[in-house]
Symmetry: C2
Subunit: 332 residues, 2 copies
């Protein structure tokens, strides 16, 4: 058997909790396949380096045969070298007394450098998943500075929002998650996000029942939305820690969809282009996408109702405002 | 396609860190297969129930289609009901000012109840993996009270010790972990453990080179042993937290070996029977085992050298002493 050539997977915030949940699953071969060796490039800030070395010791002690080489670094220009995949988990965390502008300011400078580094040293075909919040604008800043990388290659994680909505519907309908299709979120990964189930259906055998026939309108536009918006906080209240395992899982789900394709809609935060939903160009926006041969495509044949259009508009406004602040700061 | 009947997987200490690393990997289908649905039975102490509920929320939000039903409970008589697999992660942690007797005392009472519960409510064919320390004696106590369960079904995790030794050899020889075969640990999962590489070899293509030809004797009986013994502490020093991810990984490795079989020796802490190594009966002792059709077998054709025999004796003495303390406490 000829061995496949190793691919390179770079991860920022690699000493953090999401990374700890993500990396062991990647190393098990679950994402890239049991015959695909890889180089791991683990990136984090200086104070996190000891923890990162501890993680590397644990990866060694897990006897993962697919790991070809591992490096730890604080320098994205070293860490992203020849990357086939870059998973950007790290970001500047929100503090209590911080304005949105302060938060954006801290993150803009991180993702500007990372965008430049990706542009200079990563493969031109690199697939980039941005996870650190505010994720849509962080991804947009990355795309802006990653001049040599097609903007299509940079995707913001909104899959956890979609997964949470399917999780809710699964409990509401008492059906397996795998029976619920074509539910997704529009817009920003923030409290403004809008979950759209108007195209969704319950699949049982070959029978498709529209979700709108199965759940009440009041619930759809009320509790369903607010539960999704506040799910992250609800997990923190119970666990005392943020939802690392399910976030890592959403990264894997997103990449599986992107790499291996999907037959139904999935949520992906992608660069907006000419689209029938009045989302202006040059935003990273969560759209219903389908994937094939390693590329995503925005589904353009949906007919959002008036309420949905209003929510899309709200998300556009919010993201334009974030973009204006972020790009303004970049000129300072 | 006919769907497989769900199996039941019970996990104690389910709100802890090893569980958090383990459960997502199990739920991904990695261990029991992509077509094997399961019930999750999550067991922990009362104060951990909120965290456990948070974990369940995250599992829901991960859209794991293989999960059939999940329960959270503090009661092993509920938690182990109909279990096909029981993974006992929870134990009473070691405190600084605690004697070995105190520590054993706390744990003996936990594993006595769990043994009884397994005996009463689990499937007779249940496979039990004990992870909580002191793991050998905890497993022995479990076996003693699980009267209806064959003692062969209860195994103590010593796989992490084996994995760590292969990890060391991999770095020493600059070879992939998968090239290193038949290295294992004897005895107790404690500082007395002895890593035996005298039967090990480096496999390259079809060429087998004995490890004894590749590493120095001094290293084999010196640094190699001490590094393995202190590896857990070394990880804690770097990470500031104990090695949860690699411990969870070792549980998966052990169960894969046990369920799917193995062609070379693996470390398993199993009930001692008539064996040529002078290990008396009625101890849970790490032996070199091979597995086939869901059963393990101690490899009985090895020829330990004098030093190894001395180390086996040391481990026997330590475990007999632990057993005497533990069983003495059980009579109180």
């Amino acid at each position: 058997m000829t061995q496949k050539k190793p691919i390179t997977v770079a991860i920022t915030g690699a000493a953090g909790n999401i990374a700890y949940s993500l990396i062991f699953r990647i190393c098990s071969g679950e994402l890239f396949g049991n015959d695909q060796p890889f180089n791991l490039s683990l990136i984090d800030i200086e104070p996190a380096l000891p923890a990162l070395e501890g993680l590397v010791m644990e990866l060694q002690d897990s006897n993962f045969r697919l790991i070809n080489k591992t490096i730890c670094t604080t320098d994205p220009f070293e860490g992203f070298r020849d990357a086939d995949y870059a998973i950007l988990l790290g970001s500047y965390p929100r503090n209590k007394n911080q304005t949105r502008k302060d938060l954006l300011g801290k993150n803009v400078s991180i993702f500007k450098i990372q965008g430049k580094a990706l542009s200079f040293v990563a493969k031109k075909t690199v697939k980039v998943v941005v996870v650190g919040n505010p994720v849509n604008t962080n991804a947009l800043v990355t795309a802006k500075y990653a001049e040599n990388i097609p903007k299509e290659n940079i995707v913001a994680l909104t899959r956890l929002d979609m997964n949470r909505s399917i999780s809710q519907l699964s409990r509401k309908l008492n059906k397996n998650v795998s029976n619920i299709k074509n539910v997704f979120t529009w817009g920003n990964h923030s409290a403004s996000q809008f979950v759209d189930l108007s195209n969704g259906y319950l699949l049982e055998g070959s029978k498709k029942t529209p979700l709108t026939e199965l759940v009440e309108k009041e619930w759809t536009y009320g509790e369903f939305q607010t539960t999704n918006q506040t799910r992250g906080k609800a997990v923190i209240l119970k666990r005392g820690r943020s939802s690392a395992g399910s976030a890592a899982n959403a990264v894997i789900d997103l990449l599986k969809s992107w790499i291996y394709g999907t037959e139904t809609y999935v949520s992906m935060g992608v660069i907006s282009d000419n689209n029938p939903y009045n989302v202006p160009e040059n935003l990273i926006f969560s759209f219903p996408c389908t994937c094939k041969n390693g590329s995503w495509k925005i589904s353009k044949d949906l007919k959002p109702n008036d309420f949905c259009k209003k929510m899309i508009k709200k998300n556009v406004d919010e993201l334009v405002s974030e973009r204006n602040i972020a790009f303004g700061l970049l000129q300072d």
